[in-house]
């Protein structure tokens, strides 16, 4: 059995043990972490995300609505301008179509009022049209149009 004198040298060196951690100084004891609180953490997280997301959504929606309003106002002004232009063009057409303008233009073009108007006699529509004499020179005949 080896002598005990050398046992200390053979014994591995004893590493200094860290001092036992002292609990942090607290004025109050922290409340014990309850299982209920542990379960609530994800809920709070989701709620926060939802709230922040909702707020962001409202901001984005508000921005979209504002842009839409601007576009609407712009379109309305364009529509109003187009309607006004349409009215003015309508009036311009009416001015050019006024009888006195038409008569003046017609006179300048050398047109005159007819001295006599003849009513053509009424022609019944169920009479066959005469055959045009177009094939006499070549000896061919044209087909007779069918009577309706």
């Amino acid at each position: 059995m080896p002598p005990p004198a050398s046992s200390a040298a053979r014994r591995p060196a004893v590493r200094p043990q860290p001092a036992p951690r002292r609990p942090p100084l607290r004025l109050f004891e922290p409340a014990p972490r309850s299982r209920h609180r542990s379960r609530r953490r994800p809920t709070v997280l989701v709620a926060s995300v939802l709230i922040i997301g909702s707020l962001l959504s409202v901001v984005v929606a508000d921005d979209l609505v504002a842009q839409g309003q601007i576009r609407l106002a712009h379109t309305q002004s364009l529509t109003a301008a187009a309607l006004a232009q349409q009215k003015q063009l309508q009036v311009a057409v009416a001015q050019l179509a006024a009888p006195q303008i038409v008569v003046t233009e017609a006179r300048q073009l050398g047109m005159v009022a007819p001295t006599q108007i003849v009513d053509l006699p009424s022609v019944p529509l169920n009479v066959a049209l005469p055959v045009p004499d177009t094939g006499a020179a070549s000896g061919t005949t044209s087909p007779t149009p069918s009577t309706p």
């Binding site: 309508q90 001015q95 179509a97 006024a98 006195q100 009424s122």
Partner: protein, 620 residues
């Protein structure tokens, strides 16, 4: 008590305090946002917003074919806010050449102690663009509607006019004001407290304006033009003071044309009606005035549109055209027959008055037809004597004299018909020949139209329907009608009235190819200041219809103080000109064509033709 316990209590107290403050803030927030937000919002907007009225665009007035007679367009008006103008002299110098206003005048305007000054009303688009391009501080453009009459003054007494405020002042513009005007809206503009429009602020319409509805008239622009031309030429040729012509659709009572003219005192026509547009470009309107009329005129120099619609507002003693009343009643009551003979002297004394025929003659034997053809006053008085006061007065009322026509035109007269209470000893002499009555031209035409319509009196119409701002037309109710003469009597009367044109006093009313029935009238003008008549002053008139045996159109022409005085000489030719155009315009077949067409069935089994109903209305 240990410090730790004390600290805990203080902390809890602080928590409670913060909670109370928070709750108070939330409460206040709820109060402000939920219950008082309108109050605070209005306070805020009042600081920045200015509410301006947006006028509604007035509805248009169109003829029966949708042609524009009056229309409103939006124009720009140049306004200034002198409080914002730092250098009036420079600004006036820049603006003067654009607006065509002297710089000195502009400078005076923009140095007024006011926040709003009109500089130029309803400028052209080009001028508005130039003003915008100048980008002058304190100069703005505001929209202002303007009434435009593209066909010039055509039918102006009927259509009427609008004032500077855009409301109807006369005619149909006045009568249909509530319909045409629409409803004005409001617009909120964002401005800084010193009145400068905020960038990007185009304004939001807090109340949208509602455009007025349009009205489509029964008038036909083409026939109206020809009526005014023919009447104007005769007013000039006969040196008349004025004249009236009306054309009416026999079946529907639609007034196709209603011309009212007066001679201008200078003999040179109205200033705006002087220049006949040589080119289409000259029809571009000017830029001043509440109502803008085309530069082109419808009338010859020396004649202008009458200041009012005399066809409905002015009464006159009709004279011989009123004999229709006497003859229609006498025929209907079997007092006479067309071939019954009468001994007709040259004059007849009744009471204190002596009545004469227009031309001296000895005592003649005349048939009832001759009496009407030759327009014998004495023969007519003899027939009236047989007819009696009561039946004559009843027929006057029956034919619509002394009553409103139903048009409800502003200022329309019902006429002046003496009733039984005003009947005197000489009334049986003056009333049957149209010398004791005052009627409007429209009332006279209504009575003859009843004869043309087989004895059915049709209420005249000037408006065919309303046109919504979207362009949809809603037809007006058809004219009411009632029988006033039996068909057999109207057939006899028509034949007798044809004789007036073929061989009587109205031969100048004949139209080549058509049969015409009608009656001439020449009546003295009462002196308003003395008992009796104005020496040498007469109304000449002709009223009739065509084609006589299948009437489609009826018309009346009245000339005020013409020379010569006779209706057969001055009014009948105008009737012929207008009626000939109208018949051809509507494709009414001539007698020969009608006979052929009727036999072939092209026109229809009854041979009835009517005035076309008019085309669909264009967008308003």
């Amino acid at each position: 008590m240990s410090p730790i316990v004390l600290l805990g209590r203080r902390t809890r107290a602080l928590r409670v305090l913060l909670l109370v403050i928070f709750i108070a803030m939330v409460f206040r927030l709820v109060v402000v946002q939920q219950f008082s937000h309108q109050h605070y919002a209005s306070l805020s907007s009042a600081e920045l917003t200015q509410t301006v009225t947006v006028p509604a665009l007035r509805g248009g007035i169109y003829d029966r074919n949708g042609e524009v007679l009056a229309e409103s367009v939006t124009k720009q008006t140049v306004v200034a806010d002198p409080f914002l103008i730092k250098d009036p002299t420079t600004l006036a110098g820049q603006l003067a050449p654009v607006l065509g206003i002297p710089a000195s005048q502009l400078r005076a305007e923009v140095t007024q102690h006011s926040g709003f000054v009109y500089l130029a009303h309803r400028v052209s688009d080009a001028v508005a663009a130039k003003v915008t391009a100048l980008n002058l501080t304190g100069i703005n453009l505001v929209s202002e509607p303007q009434r435009v009459q593209p066909a010039g003054q055509l039918a102006e007494p009927v259509v009427g006019s609008v004032g500077a405020d855009g409301s109807g002042q006369s005619g149909l513009e006045y009568q249909y004001q509530s319909l045409l005007a629409g409803k004005a809206g409001t617009k909120d503009l964002m401005e800084s407290p010193n009145g400068v429009a905020l960038p990007g602020s185009t304004g939001t319409a807090s109340t949208s304006s509602v455009a007025g509805s349009g009205i489509e008239l029964t008038l036909d622009e083409s026939v109206q033009y020809v009526a005014e031309q023919a009447l104007g030429a005769e007013v000039l040729a006969s040196h008349a003071v004025g004249g009236t012509a009306i054309v009416m659709d026999v079946k529907t009572g639609d007034v196709i044309a209603m011309a009212n003219l007066s001679a201008t005192s200078s003999g040179s026509g109205s200033s705006s009606a002087q220049t006949v547009a040589a080119t289409s470009s000259s029809a571009v309107p000017s830029t001043s005035g509440a109502t803008l009329t085309s530069q082109a005129t419808t009338l010859p120099a020396g004649v202008s549109e009458a200041p009012s619609n005399t066809a409905l507002t002015q009464v006159y003693e009709p004279g011989s055209v009123f004999k229709l009343v006497t003859f229609s009643s006498a025929l209907q009551n079997k007092v006479i027959s067309p071939s019954q003979t009468f001994s007709v002297p040259n004059s007849l004394s009744i009471g204190t008055y002596t009545f004469h025929d227009a031309e001296n003659h000895g005592t003649q034997t005349m048939t009832a037809t001759d009496i009407l053809d030759q327009s014998s006053n004495i023969g007519t008085i003899e027939i009236a004597g047989d007819l009696g006061e009561n039946r004559l007065l009843a027929q006057i009322s029956n034919l619509g004299f002394g009553k409103p026509t139903g048009l409800n035109f502003p200022g329309e007269s019902e006429g002046l018909i003496p009733g039984a209470s005003a009947w005197t000893g000489s009334s049986i002499g003056s009333t049957p020949i149209g010398q004791n009555d005052a009627v409007t031209a429209q009332q006279l035409l209504d009575a003859y139209n009843a004869v043309a319509n087989g004895g059915v009196l049709v209420q005249p119409r000037l408006v065919r329907g309303t046109v919504s701002s979207g362009g949809t037309m809603s037809a007006a109710a058809p004219a009411t009608s009632r029988r006033v003469i039996d068909p057999a009597t109207t057939a006899e009367l028509t034949t007798m009235l044809e004789g007036v044109v073929t061989g009587g006093t109205g031969t100048a009313a004949a139209i080549d190819g058509y049969t015409v029935a009608g009656k001439t009238g020449t009546a003295q003008i009462p002196d308003p200041s003395h008992l009796g008549y104005i020496p040498g002053a007469f109304y000449g008139s002709f009223v009739g219809f065509a084609p006589a045996q299948n009437p489609v159109l009826s018309a009346v022409v009245v000339l005020d103080r013409p020379t010569p005085i006779y209706g057969g000489a001055v009014a009948a030719p105008v009737f012929s000109t207008i009626m000939e155009y109208a018949l051809q315009h509507y494709g009414i077949p001539t007698n020969a064509a009608a006979t052929t067409s009727t036999s072939s069935g092209a026109v229809g089994g009854t041979g009835t033709v009517t005035v076309p109903a008019g085309a669909a209305t264009e967008g308003a």
